[in-house]
Symmetry: C2
DNA sequence: TGACATGGCATGTATATACATGTTTCACTC
DNA sequence: GAGTGAAACATGTATATACATGCCATGTCA
């Protein structure tokens, strides 16, 4: 008589389910110590390697905490933060079935960028950066103003891209492995320049997304996405507890 | 002469590094097929179980794609979406070293909620829901208006909480395992009610975060977080390619 | 009483072996 | 030539075994 389910799934999955069920039911409370691997081997009738794999995977999924020589414990509830997924605007529009068009306003190498830019790139001295300013239209109505500064040391030939068709982030990810991303989302009133390019009334609300990306310790890109508040919102649906196949 | 590094890390880690190095250098291009497990066993001089573990972990980390009976392939670049982490306001303020205070405006059971709420909960008929409205202050300045509708079937005793001290999301996550989260971020001008509660000028920009959570197929909560645009932005730093320990 | 050695027990890694399961290929048969 | 079946080969799972490593309690010796 085993405590494991009799489904068709592999044994280590059943062991994982068994552990999760005990946690879910509250039988094994938070920070409680689990039976040792050998205990589970005896009570469940499977080999230690199988138990070990189950516990190892549950640990890497954040459900358990293990300390060599001490034992296995129910992990404290996962960080009470939630993730939002930001996809690029072109796919987003296409997914909605809308027509996308992009207008390139600016495309240049800036030899002596403003100090704010130099500081954002964490340069110790002034270095040239590539700069692009693109307006994205959905069904010929402007929805996003995309401004990018790119580190030419990491992304060569950035200015040679065809910005009207290629998703910029896609190109960047192909060029250089981005290791870290910082986001800042804010709501600000539109300035005159933004109002003109986005064809919106001045001082109306804009949804602004700042994004800064790193490759290792080096800043790769600094971006600002400005959206017309009344025409755009940033949405996402996310499943926090994803079971890896 | 092995191709593996001579560091102190475990063997399966070295195998993982070996594979990642070959992908990173472009020697194994995207969608290219890797040598079979047995090939790697012969060329690297480790057991198949060790190779298998390395490849399995790299697969679950998204670097590889495996098909039983066919082979192992370099995974296409990960979804060009980026994740934003939203943490709760209380921790955020505390982390900044600010003083947090909360004021409860409303706390009630709504027997006959508005149709918009009924629709948001995907009820097939009118059912009562619990409702709370809380203002969060940072150093006695209001920064967030938090409005929640909670499904009493999933979260009993919601109204009995002490909302001024406990993080609401924290409580919800303890009560019911939330399986899915939907977010919508937008920028809208403040209405009269919001302007009053948040002590801000009417029509100034607000950063609004809508959040809807599910437990299984059932809607658990429907929330709206309204922030003063000039005082608050939603930030996060995220490492996309996280190596599990 | 304090310091230290040691044994017991927990998890962590590595291997050999076996069989299961899915895919492709290829030769054989009809 | 079409269909079929078996072999070859790929990954997937499960076990037994061995040893490594880390932590802790116990007991002994100074």
């Amino acid at each position: 008589m085993s405590a494991l389910s009799d489904s068709a799934s592999p044994l280590y999955e059943k062991v994982k389910d068994f552990v999760l069920a005990n946690i879910g039911s509250g039988k094994w409370a938070q920070n409680a110590r689990l039976p040792s691997e050998n205990d589970l081997v005896n009570s469940l009738g499977v080999s230690r390697m199988t138990v070990h794999r189950a516990l190892r995977e549950l640990t890497s999924e954040g459900h358990l905490r293990r300390v060599q020589g001490v034992g296995t414990f129910v992990a404290p509830p996962k960080a009470q933060s939630t993730l939002i997924e930001v996809s690029n605007i072109i796919n987003e529009i296409r997914d909605r079935g809308g027509k996308h068009r992009a207008g390139v306003i600016l495309l240049e190498r800036v030899e002596h960028p403003a100090t704010a830019i130099v500081r954002a790139f964490e340069f110790d001295q002034t270095k040239p950066v590539d700069h692009s300013l693109v307006v994205h239209f959905e069904n010929d109505i402007p929805v996003q103003l995309e401004e990018r500064y790119v580190n030419p040391a990491l992304v060569p030939h950035y200015l040679d891209q065809d910005f009207t068709s290629i998703a910029t982030l896609e190109y960047l990810q192909r060029c250089t492995p981005l290791t870290e991303v910082e986001h800042l989302i804010s709501a600000v009133p539109a300035g005159p320049e933004q109002a003109r390019l986005l064809q919106m009334p001045e001082r109306d609300s804009c949804l602004v997304l700042h994004r800064k990306t790193w490759t290792g310790a080096t800043v790769a890109t600094v971006n600002t996405f400005t959206h017309v508040g009344s025409r755009y919102s940033l949405g996402s649906r996310y499943r926090p507890t994803h079971k890896p196949a």
